[in-house]
């Protein structure tokens, strides 16, 4: 091809860049920082503040809750009483006592019941949605799980007080339907969506190659799921359950409304119980800012914060194994 044949742009690419600019002296000037460079730096700093805000808020929550509760821990709290006694009588005029044992046991009992109901069904639903359902059925079920997650906690509580209450009285012949069983069922339903969603993510993270290899050997779908997918996804499933535990543990309004809210060491699922969260919600409005009772409620808050912190930390550590760092 003759070099003359070059169409209409013989000076392609060079207009405006004089020869002087091509030498080394000109080069440094060409690579100077311009407005776009500074703009990028500016945006980087602004969004960095957004990123850091998450840390600031977690620390801030701990700091402010501790700030209000610390006075109680340092001066009033008797550790043995707090963790060993069921006598939560903060408003007693003669001798207020702050035994949180019943509240702790109540929360643990209700959370445990919720998990007993919820874990099998949530994981089952995750397996069905992730491994068996296809197309429209799958999409519909996913949307329904999402709607389940959207029902506000106060509506759940209201359902507990009305529908579930009647249901329990009629089914089990108990005199009162507001009890640990009621709260456990309600919390189970509330914790189910997060467990189902995260568990399904964990199943999805198992490479299809595993399934194909097993299916090529003639395994049925269920054999593939049971022998290949579930073992490969077990960390993610554990993480899902932990997040469900965290969700149930920290739930407030539904437990307050459905559990019966009486201080009591439960001996049966049909006993009324009282949860840590519900105690704060029910009593904080009636306390004077700075009083022992007020500070004791913040101390319950510290306990809740610390426990959920470790539950979530554990969940994150086990889930990270399947979902990757970011």
């Amino acid at each position: 091809m003759p070099p003359e044949m070059d169409g209409n742009s013989s000076t392609y690419g060079l207009e405006g860049k004089g020869a002087a600019l091509r030498g080394p002296e000109g080069a440094s000037r060409r690579y100077g920082r311009d407005w776009a460079w500074w703009q990028d730096k500016l945006v980087a700093s602004v969004v960095f503040v957004g990123g850091v805000s998450a840390i600031v808020f977690v620390l801030g929550i701990f700091a402010f809750v501790t700030r209000e509760g610390l006075g109680f821990i340092l001066h009033t709290m008797d550790v043995r009483e707090f963790f060993g006694s069921i006598a939560w009588r903060p408003t007693s005029l003669i001798r207020p006592t702050y035994g949180a044992l019943a509240l702790i046991v109540g929360t643990a009992f209700v959370t445990g019941l919720a998990m007993v109901f919820s874990v099998p069904f949530s994981l089952g639903a995750a397996i069905f949605i992730g491994e068996f359902a296809k197309g429209r059925v799958r999409e519909t079920l996913k949307i329904l799980v999402e709607l389940l997650a959207a029902v506000p906690s106060v509506v759940w509580g209201f359902i507990g007080m009305t529908v579930m209450n009647e249901f329990l009285i009629r089914t089990f012949g108990v005199p009162v339907g507001l009890n640990a069983m009621n709260a456990g069922l309600i919390l189970g339903l509330m914790a189910a969506p997060i467990m189902t969603t995260i568990a399904e993510d964990a199943l999805k993270a198992v490479p299809d190659g595993y399934r194909e290899a097993a299916e090529a050997m003639g395994a049925t779908r269920w054999q593939v799921v049971w022998r290949v997918v579930l073992p490969a996804a077990k960390n993610g499933l554990l993480g899902a359950v932990l997040l469900g535990v965290g969700r149930a543990f920290g739930e407030t309004m539904a437990v307050l409304m459905a559990s019966g809210h009486s201080i009591h060491l439960p001996t049966s699922p049909f006993d009324s119980v009282r949860a840590l969260t519900a105690t704060i919600a029910a009593e904080l409005g009636e306390t004077a800012v700075g009083s022992d009772h007020y500070r004791a409620l913040f101390t319950l808050g510290i306990l809740l914060f610390v426990v959920t912190f470790f539950i979530n930390l554990a969940a994150d550590l086990v889930v990270r194994g399947v979902r990757g760092g970011r």
Binding site: V49, G51, V65, A125, F128, V154, F158, M253
Partner: protein, 289 residues
């Protein structure tokens, strides 16, 4: 010829039983939503009217309408969105587009996970200690909105980050190789193509904020107020708290009224969710690559 062996037949039977069992479990899980909705519809509809939505409560909330809590919820939700969305989107942009892969980024991610797991009542304690008392906003729409905002921050961050990450990396690289800065790339290519996803996240935040009770109980929402809020330093009633109050604290409320309040509340929330779902479906049908 292929003939089913007894083992094949047994496997097929097990497969069917297992499949039906899991289907049953899924149905048991999602059935309550539909049940709840129908019960609320049946029991709440009689008390529902245009008047119910647009008038003030009367006779100690045993009669009249729900205008103040309805408006109050709109105030609180709007406030929390204004507070959360810019911060959350910024955080997501940082994590998705700028953050190096180092220990500090891991700490931010850990903080987001933990922030999402903090119980709502602890958020309430934080809002009371920080916004109401320390910053001196008093129990006000401002304090309650900020409390809701902090609570919803991780939701916005996670949804936005997911939307940003759904834009393929190859697009960013193509843009960078043209000499575009990271911000120019975000502005020209990443944000325009993740906008709907971000919007979905924001709508879900709104829906969540509307239904929350505990975080606003001690920070700005009150059991009863004879006035409509006039500004962000006023206290207000709110739908979620109103349901709690008339269901548990006020004697003599006609049975249908709390059901109607719950129905209105859940309709607001589910309408938002339906909008988000519709947006997502629409988005999936309109692939740009």
């Amino acid at each position: 010829m292929f003939e089913a062996t007894p083992l094949n037949r047994r496997n097929a039977r097990v497969e069917l039983v297992v499949k039906l069992l899991f289907l049953l479990m899924t149905v048991v899980l999602v059935l309550p939503v539909l049940t709840i909705l129908s019960i609320l519809l049946v029991k709440g509809t009689p008390a529902l009217s245009w008047e119910f939505l647009t008038t003030m409560p009367e006779k100690g909330m045993t009669a009249g309408g729900i205008l103040p809590p309805l408006l109050g919820t709109v105030w609180l939700v709007a406030g929390s969105v204004v507070a959360t969305v810019p911060l959350g989107v910024a955080a997501a942009i940082y994590l998705s587009e700028y953050a190096p892969d180092n220990w500090f980024t891991r700490i931010i991610n850990l903080a987001i996970v933990n922030l999402a797991g903090v119980p709502s009542i602890v958020h309430a304690l934080f809002g009371l200690g920080a916004f109401v008392l320390f910053f001196g906003f008093g129990t006000s729409i401002l304090a309650a909105s900020l409390t809701l905002g902090v609570m919803n921050l991780p939701v916005v961050i996670v949804a936005t980050r997911e939307a940003l990450q759904s834009v393929p990396r190859a697009f960013r690289e193509a843009c960078w190789s043209l000499g575009a800065t990271r911000w120019q790339t975000i502005r020209e290519v990443v944000l325009p193509n993740s906008f709907s996803g971000i919007l979905t996240g924001v709508i879900l935040t709104v829906s969540r904020a509307a239904g929350e009770t505990a975080p606003i109980m001690f920070t700005g929402a009150v059991f009863y107020s004879p006035f409509l809020p006039q500004g962000i330093f006023d206290e207000t009633m709110a739908m979620a708290l109103h349901l709690f109050v008339i269901a548990t604290q006020v004697p003599g409320v006609p049975e249908a009224v709390p059901f109607a309040v719950a129905l209105v509340l859940i309709t607001m929330v589910l309408a938002m969710n339906a909008l988000a779902i519709a947006l997502r479906v629409h988005l999936r049908g309109k692939k740009k690559w």
